[in-house]
Symmetry: C2
Subunit: 264 residues, 2 copies
């Protein structure tokens, strides 16, 4: 079992080009996990930008690479006082797999000036079942995912309201940080499973915002969908709260339903 730090090790090949190995354990089935790859690419971009925190990362997923060696191509496009911006590409066998831009800077650890609402209701972690399977060699060995029973209608063959809630912990014993939160925003099951859709729902675009530095402990995740189009496109908005209940990360993704994909 390789930790997140081990699975995101980088070697600088030359200026603006790092090599890394996509870890087969940080995968869903045979596909390296999108949030994991995005975190790896962001790590390289932060080095190039020479800033601490990824304030906003937008990633367009072009094709799914295999586990194994990739190159991370980064370019600092702007160096500013408040933030710097880097362009980043994950490349395998000469093909771009992820096209990303990272706006990076430094954020404070102070409480938010204002929040619209409290964290959505999620059952206490002890009342949320553990979804690890002993035989699973993939991502669920690295993240202890506990879903609120409210969100598991699809496991019972039922439908719900397009919202998913749960808790997450890293099994390597580390606490979440601005990079592992990128994994967290893309970790809950697709909201459209509760709407009767199924299969692998590829993320086409995902934008992550780091909103605060997370406190130690598990994080609570909440995702919702606004609309599923006739041709299978759906959005999925995620909010992640730390153990103090503070909003620490947000994301919105555009994805394609596995059911629609199968019918094309």
């Amino acid at each position: 079992m390789r930790s997140f730090a081990e699975a995101t090790a980088l070697s600088e090949l030359r200026a603006g080009v790092h090599t890394a190995a996509l870890d087969s354990e940080w995968s869903i089935g045979k596909n390296p996990h999108g949030g994991y790859m995005m975190a790896l690419l962001t790590k390289a971009a932060l080095r190039t930008a020479q800033r601490s925190h990824p304030l906003a990362v937008s990633a367009h997923f072009l094709r799914s690479p295999d586990a194994g060696e990739v190159e991370l191509h980064t370019e600092r496009v702007k160096r500013g006082r408040l933030f710097s911006t880097a362009h980043a590409r994950l490349v395998q066998n000469g093909k771009v797999c992820i096209e990303a831009t990272v706006t990076a800077g430094e954020i404070s650890d102070a409480a938010h000036q204002w929040e619209a609402a409290q964290q959505p209701p999620i059952k206490p972690i002890d009342e949320c079942p553990d979804h690890r399977m002993p035989t699973d060699g993939g991502l669920l060995g690295h993240l202890n995912l506990r879903l609120d029973p409210h969100s598991t209608a699809f496991l019972r063959g039922e439908t719900d309201d397009g919202e998913v809630r749960g808790w997450m912990e890293l099994t390597d014993g580390t606490d979440f940080d601005p990079l592992t939160l990128i994994v967290a925003v893309d970790m809950l099951p697709p909201t459209v499973f509760g709407l009767g859709q199924s299969g692998w729902c590829p993320t086409v675009e995902l934008t992550y915002q780091l909103r605060a530095l997370p406190a130690p402990g598990p994080v609570a995740g909440y995702t919702r969908c606004d609309a599923l189009s006739a041709d299978g496109w759906f959005n999925e908005d995620a909010a992640v709260y730390d153990s103090r209940g503070r909003l620490v990360a947000q994301s919105r993704q555009l994805a394609l339903s596995g059911t629609a994909l199968k019918n094309r």
Copy 2:
């Protein structure tokens, strides 16, 4: 008064490079409007991608250009069956002002399979005051913006709940399309004005999703903020509904409060 089509005219200089002139009328004060510039850049990227609709456009705003000539640098990074992806930069005087990625394809005009909720309540357009000023030579000459009185507490020196609602129409007589909807998602006053913040709130990152093709007629816009950080960062989520009440566009942006910016 130049129409949107005139204000987004493009000339191809060479493969992957278009020139255009940022129109001083499509501005807020002296700053060309972010959504207008993003729409212009997306127009160039769609040509390069050879696809019809911008499914997801993520734009990182690095610096604010002046009105006048710019170059639009585009590169098709992937050509696919379901979608193609292009990288795009808006450059002025050799400096990148906007770094964007456009995932493009074709979407159907059919009703959504599923929607989470109805359009948020917005007063009928006739009960929303007109905010055009006869002397305004900028953007409000091109978009007839009518704010729900619910959302204008800040105009009365009061505070509200970080939500803004209103109606929009293009004054050049055209209906909204996938490009002008990019202007629409960035058109309502900043939500943080209702929280007592003020001044120019620069957008740092904005991701737009086209969710459906809009029907003719005015569109209804709804924006909300989840959190304003201690150092002035806030998110702003927009949803735009067409005259049938269908969700046609969504966006989320990360922006910096003008009040925080002034104090740095």
